[in-house]
C-alpha cells in the first residue's frame, strides 16, 4: 500500500541513519509470486487504508482534546456522560465496516482452501531439522530427497564471512514447474514444523502423524526462499525452505537428470566401498545430519538427550544395534529414523562414527545396512 509504504520508508530512512547498515531494508511483503499471494497483499492494503481512516478519526479527536481541552488553557470540564444515540452509532458503524472487510477475506479463504485437481502433488515431511520432499503424483512421480541447510557452521559461528543467502540455502532445492497447480501435503516425523513460502502466500503446519495440505500456482520463475516457522527445537532457525520455479521444459529435464542420478546412486548402494571412501562420505553425511546434536567431536549435547558418540556403547558395540538405532531412531527424542538416506550414506556415516574420536568399531558396508531394513 502506497500510504503505508511512504510512512515505512521514512521510518526506514530514520533507521538507516541510526545504524548505517549496508543491507537493503525489507519492510513489506515480498513481491507476490502467485495469485494467492497477490490477493493477500491486496486484502492487507485494503484493511490498512481502513485502519488509517479510523486512526485519523479517533486519534484526531484524542489529540485535539489533548490540545484544546486542557486545564492549563483554562478549559472548563463539561459534565455529560451519556448519549444513547451516539453510543448506538459507534457500535453499528464498526460492525458494518467489519462486514465489509469480512466479505473479500472470505473469498480468499475459500480460494486458499481449494486444493482440488492439482497438476503435481508433493509430500513435505518436517524432520528435526531438515525437510523431506516426495513427489507423489504428477510429472516427476517417485522423486524423493532430503533438503538440509547448506550454510557452513563456520559462517554461523562467525569464523567466515556470511554469504549472500546466509541461512536461506539448501543442498537440494524443491523444483517445481511454472504455471501448474502444486498441491503440497505436509506432515512431520517428530514434532510440529511449519512449511512456508511467503511469495506464494502458502503456509501450513506439518503435524506428526497427520496429513494437511495447501496449494499454490507459481507465476514467476526464480528461487524463492524461506524458513521453518514453528518452533521445533534447538535448530529451528536452521532449516530453510528453498523452492526453484522453472519452465516446463526445464522441469522435464530436471526430472530426467534426477532419475538418472538416482539410478546411479542406487547402483552404488549395493557395491562395497573402501574404508577411505566410507570415511570421507561418512564425514559429509555426519556434518549434514548428525553434527547439530552429537557435535563435531562426537561429544553430544546432554541438554538434548543426545549422548556422546565418542566411546559410547552403541558406536563401539555390535554393528547391528548401531544400524538399528540409525534406521529406527529413538522414541521421544530428537533422534529420528534416518531410513530416508541411502544404504551407502548410512553405511558411510555409521563407519565414520565407529572409527572417529578414538572409536574402533570396524566398518559397515551398504549391504549390511540393507539387510537390517524391514
Amino acid at each position: 500500500m502506497r500510504g503505508t509504504k511512504v510512512i515505512q520508508a521514512l521510518a526506514g530512512l530514520a533507521g538507516l541513519g541510526i545504524c548505517g547498515s549496508a543491507y537493503a531494508l525489507e519492510w513489506y511483503f515480498r513481491e507476490p509470486g502467485s495469485r494467492l499471494a497477490a490477493d493477500v497483499d491486496w486484502l492487507h492494503q485494503m484493511v490498512m487504508w481502513l485502519i488509517l481512516a479510523i486512526f485519523v478519526v479517533v486519534f484526531g479527536a484524542m489529540f485535539y482534546a489533548c490540545y484544546a481541552h486542557r486545564k492549563s488553557k483554562g478549559h472548563k470540564a463539561e459534565q455529560f456522560h451519556e448519549n444513547t444515540a451516539v453510543e448506538l452509532v459507534w457500535t453499528v458503524i464498526p460492525a458494518i465496516i467489519l462486514v465489509a472487510i469480512a466479505w473479500p477475506a472470505t473469498k480468499v479463504v475459500i480460494a486458499q482452501k481449494d486444493t482440488s485437481a492439482p497438476d503435481l502433488t508433493i509430500k513435505v515431511t518436517g524432520y528435526q531439522w531438515k525437510w523431506g520432499y516426495d513427489y507423489v503424483k504428477g510429472e516427476g512421480e517417485g522423486i524423493s530427497f532430503l533438503s538440509t541447510l547448506a550454510t557452513p557452521r563456520a559462517q554461523i559461528e562467525g569464523h567466515e564471512p556470511k554469504g549472500e543467502h546466509y541461512l536461506l540455502e539448501v543442498d537440494n532445492e524443491l523444483v517445481v514447474p511454472i504455471g501448474k497447480k502444486i498441491r503440497v501435503i505436509t506432515t512431520a516425523a517428530d514434532v510440529v514444523h511449519s512449511w512456508w513460502v511467503p511469495s506464494f502466500g502458502a503456509k501450513q503446519d506439518a503435524i506428526p502423524g497427520f496429513l494437511r495440505d495447501l496449494w499454490f500456482r507459481p507465476e514467476k520463475t526464480g528461487t524463492f526462499r524461506s524458513q521453518c516457522v514453528e518452533l521445533c527445537g534447538k535448530e529451528h532457525g536452521f532449516m530453510p525452505i528453498v523452492v526453484r520455479v522453472v519452465s516446463g521444459e526445464d522441469y522435464t529435464q530436471w526430472v530426467a537428470q534426477f532419475k538418472e542420478k538416482a539410478e546411479k546412486s542406487a547402483a552404488g548402494d549395493s557395491r562395497n566401498l573402501s574404508t577411505q571412501e566410507l570415511m570421507q562420505r561418512g564425514e559429509k553425511v555426519y556434518t549434514g545430519n548428525c553434527v547439530a546434536c552429537h557435535q563435531a567431536q562426537g561429544q553430544g549435547t546432554p541438554a538434548m538427550k543426545a549422548p556422546a558418540l565418542a566411546g559410547s556403547k552403541v558406536t563401539t558395540g555390535p554393528k547391528e544395534a548401531h544400524i538399528d538405532t540409525v534406521l529406527q531412531g529413538r522414541a521421544n527424542t530428537a533422534m529420528q529414523s534416518f531410513k530416508a538416506l541411502g544404504n551407502a550414506d548410512l553405511a558411510a556415516v555409521i563407519t565414520y562414527e565407529r572409527n572417529s574420536w578414538g572409536n574402533k568399531g570396524g566398518e559397515v558396508q551398504p549391504a549390511e545396512v540393507a539387510a537390517r531394513r524391514k
Binding site: 519492510w27 484493511v47 486545564k71 463539561e78 459534565q79 554461523i156 546466509y166 514434532v191 502458502a202 521421544n332
Partner: protein, 535 residues
C-alpha cells in the same frame, strides 16, 4: 475483621482503632503471616516487580543475541530457554500479579469493605507464587536446563525436554492454583462485601473489570492445568493424548492451550482497562462517558473471548468452515473493544485535561493499545494471518497489547495510587522522563518488528538472514534503552517511599472513588471497619 493482626507502625491518623498495636509479629514474619489486604497487595506488587526484572533481563539476552546475524552470545538451546522463560515469567509472574496487587489494595477500599472476604486464603494465594517462581528458576539448573519450547509449550516438543519441563509444569499448576484462589476471593468480596448503597452499577469500573476477570480466571486456569497435566502424563506415564502413534493428536494440545490462552489475553487486558477507566476521568475532571456501555462491552469481550481461541491456529489446517467461524467471531471482538476506545476518547472530549504521569501513561495506553488492536484486526483475517503467523509481526502485535497495553496501564495505576498507598508524592519530573523514555524505546523495539514480520522473519530464531539485520539492530538498541528506563522507575518508587513530599489529602482533583473521598492519605492500616453508606 477484628481477627486481622495489626502490626504495622504507621498511618493511624484520623482513625481511632478499638484494637491497636498488639500484633505478635514484626519484621519478616509480618509479611509471611499477614492477612491484611494492603500488605498482601504490596507483596504482590513487589513480587511482580522482581519477576518483571528477571523476565526483562531474559528479554535483553534475547535481544543481545539478535543484535547481529550469527551466533555470538548464547547457543540456540539456551536461546529457546530464554524465550520460553521470558514469556512464562512475564505473563504469569509479572503482569498477572501486578493487577492482583492492585485488586488487593483497591477493591476493598473502592467498595467500602474492611478487607478481602477470605483473608487467610488471600495470604495463601500470594505465598504460592514465590514457590512457583522458584520452580521455574530451578529448572535452569536441571540436567538439560529449562524447557526450550516457547511459553505455549506445544506438544510433542515438550516430550523431548529434560526434567526442567516437569518443574515448569508444576510451576504452572501452582500459578494456576494461586490465580483461582485469588479469583474466588475477589468474586466473593465484590459480591458480598460492598458497603450499603454501593450497588453493582455504582461500582468503580476497576472493580467491574476485576469481577469479570476473576470469572475468566476461574473458567480458564483449570483448562491450562489440564493441558499441562496431559503433557506430564504423556511424558512419564505412557499416555498418548498428543501422540498420533497412540491415537492422540498434537493439535488437541493447541486447542486446549488456546481455549485457556485467549481468555488469558483478556485476563491480562481487562484489569488494565479498569485502571485506565479510573485514571482518564480523574485527569479529565469529568465523569467516565458511557459507564453502562463500558460494563456491557467488558462483559461482551469476556464472553466472546471463549469462542475465538482457534484464531491462534489458522495454520494448523482447519476445515474452511472452522476458519471462517473463528475469523468472524474474532473480528466481532473489535466492536466492544471499539466502544471502549470511543468511550475513553469521549471522556477526554471537552474535559479539563492535565497531564501528570498517570494520565500520560493512560494516553500512551490508549494510543498504543489501539495500535495493537489494529494489528489484531489484521491478524484476525485468515489469509493475512497465514502470511504473518509465527513471524515477528505477531511478536510486535502482542507486545503492543501486553506491554503498551497492560504494562502501561500498570504504570498508570502505580503513579495514580502511590500517593494513597505511601502518603507521599513521586517526583513528577522523573515520572515524566520515565514515561517518555518508555514510550520512545518501546516503539523502537516493537514498531520495527512489524516490518520484520512482513518481510518474513520467523519468531523464536536465534539467528537470521542478513536482510533482517537493520531492524534487529534498532530493536536491540531500543530494548536496552527500555531496560534502563525501568531502572529509573525502580529509583522513582524508592525515592517516593523514602524522600517523597507528603501527599495532599486529594492529590488528583478529579478522583472520586471511595478511597479518595472517604479515607485519609496515607490510608491507615485498617479501613472501613465501619462500612460507609453510599448516598
Amino acid at each position: 475483621m477484628s481477627a486481622v493482626v495489626d502490626t504495622h507502625g504507621h498511618g493511624h491518623a484520623g482513625h481511632d482503632h478499638g484494637h491497636g498495636h498488639h500484633g505478635p509479629y514484626g519484621g519478616i514474619m509480618r509479611w509471611i503471616t499477614t492477612t491484611n489486604h494492603k500488605d498482601i497487595g504490596t507483596l504482590y506488587l513487589w513480587f511482580s516487580f522482581i519477576m518483571f526484572s528477571v523476565g526483562g533481563t531474559m528479554a535483553l539476552v534475547i535481544r543481545a543475541e539478535l543484535f547481529e546475524p550469527g551466533l555470538q552470545i548464547v547457543n540456540p538451546d539456551f536461546f529457546n530457554q530464554m524465550t520460553t522463560m521470558h514469556g512464562l515469567i512475564m505473563v504469569f509472574g509479572a503482569i498477572m500479579p501486578v493487577f492482583v496487587g492492585f485488586a488487593n489494595w483497591q477493591i476493598p477500599m473502592m467498595i467500602g469493605a474492611p478487607d478481602m472476604a477470605f483473608a487467610r486464603l488471600n495470604n495463601w494465594s500470594f505465598w504460592l507464587l514465590p514457590f512457583a517462581a522458584t520452580l521455574l528458576i530451578l529448572s535452569f539448573f536441571m540436567p538439560g536446563g529449562a524447557p526450550g519450547v516457547g511459553w505455549t509449550m506445544y506438544s510433542p516438543l515438550t516430550v523431548q525436554m529434560g526434567i526442567g519441563m516437569d518443574f515448569t509444569i508444576f510451576a504452572v499448576h501452582l500459578l494456576g492454583m494461586s490465580s483461582i484462589l485469588g479469583s474466588i476471593n475477589i468474586i466473593t468480596t465484590i459480591l458480598n462485601m460492598r458497603a450499603p448503597g454501593m450497588t453493582l452499577m455504582r461500582m468503580p469500573l476497576f472493580v467491574w473489570t476485576w469481577l469479570i476477570t476473576a470469572y475468566l480466571l476461574v473458567a480458564a486456569m483449570p483448562v491450562l492445568a489440564g493441558a499441562v497435566t496431559m503433557t506430564l502424563t504423556d511424558r512419564h506415564f505412557g499416555t498418548s493424548f498428543f501422540n498420533a502413534a497412540g491415537g492422540g493428536d498434537p493439535v488437541l494440545y493447541q486447542h486446549i492451550f488456546w481455549f485457556f490462552g485467549h481468555p488469558e489475553v483478556y485476563i491480562i487486558a481487562l484489569p488494565g482497562f479498569g485502571v485506565i477507566s479510573q485514571v482518564i476521568p480523574a485527569f479529565s475532571r469529568k465523569p467516565l462517558f458511557g459507564y453502562a456501555s463500558m460494563v456491557y462491552a467488558t462483559s461482551a469481550i469476556a464472553i466472546l473471548s471463549f469462542i475465538v481461541w482457534a484464531h491462534h491456529m489458522y495454520t494448523v489446517g482447519m476445515p474452511v468452515t472452522g476458519q471462517l467461524f473463528f475469523m468472524y467471531a474474532t473480528i466481532l471482538i473489535a466492536v466492544p473493544t471499539g466502544v471502549k476506545v470511543f468511550n475513553w476518547v469521549t471522556t477526554m472530549w471537552k474535559g479539563s485535561l492535565s497531564f501528570e504521569t498517570p494520565m500520560l501513561f493512560a494516553c500512551g495506553f490508549l494510543f498504543m493499545f489501539t495500535l495493537g488492536g489494529f494489528t489484531g484486526l489484521v491478524l484476525a483475517l485468515v489469509p493475512i494471518d497465514i502470511q504473518l503467523h509465527d513471524t515477528y509481526y505477531v511478536v510486535a502485535h502482542f507486545h503492543y497489547v501486553m506491554v503498551a497495553g497492560a504494562l502501561f496501564a500498570a504504570f498508570a495505576g502505580v503513579y495514580f495510587w502511590i500517593p494513597k498507598w505511601t502518603g507521599r508524592m513521586y517526583n513528577e519530573t522523573l515520572g515524566k522522563i520515565h514515561f517518555w523514555a518508555t514510550l520512545i524505546f518501546f516503539n523502537m523495539i516493537f514498531f520495527v518488528q512489524h516490518f520484520l514480520g512482513m518481510a518474513g522473519m520467523p519468531r523464536r530464531i536465534p539467528d537470521y538472514p542478513l536482510m533482517f539485520e537493520t531492524w534487529n539492530k534498532i530493536s536491540t538498541i531500543g530494548a536496552f534503552g527500555m531496560g534502563l528506563a525501568q531502572v529509573l522507575f525502580f529509583y522513582i518508587v524508592l525515592d517516593t517511599i523514602r524522600n517523597g513530599k507528603p501527599a495532599p489529602q486529594l492529590p488528583w482533583e478529579g478522583a472520586d472513588s471511595l478511597e479518595w473521598t472517604h479515607l485519609p492519605t496515607p490510608v491507615p492500616y485498617h479501613t472501613f471497619e465501619t462500612q460507609p453508606t453510599i448516598r
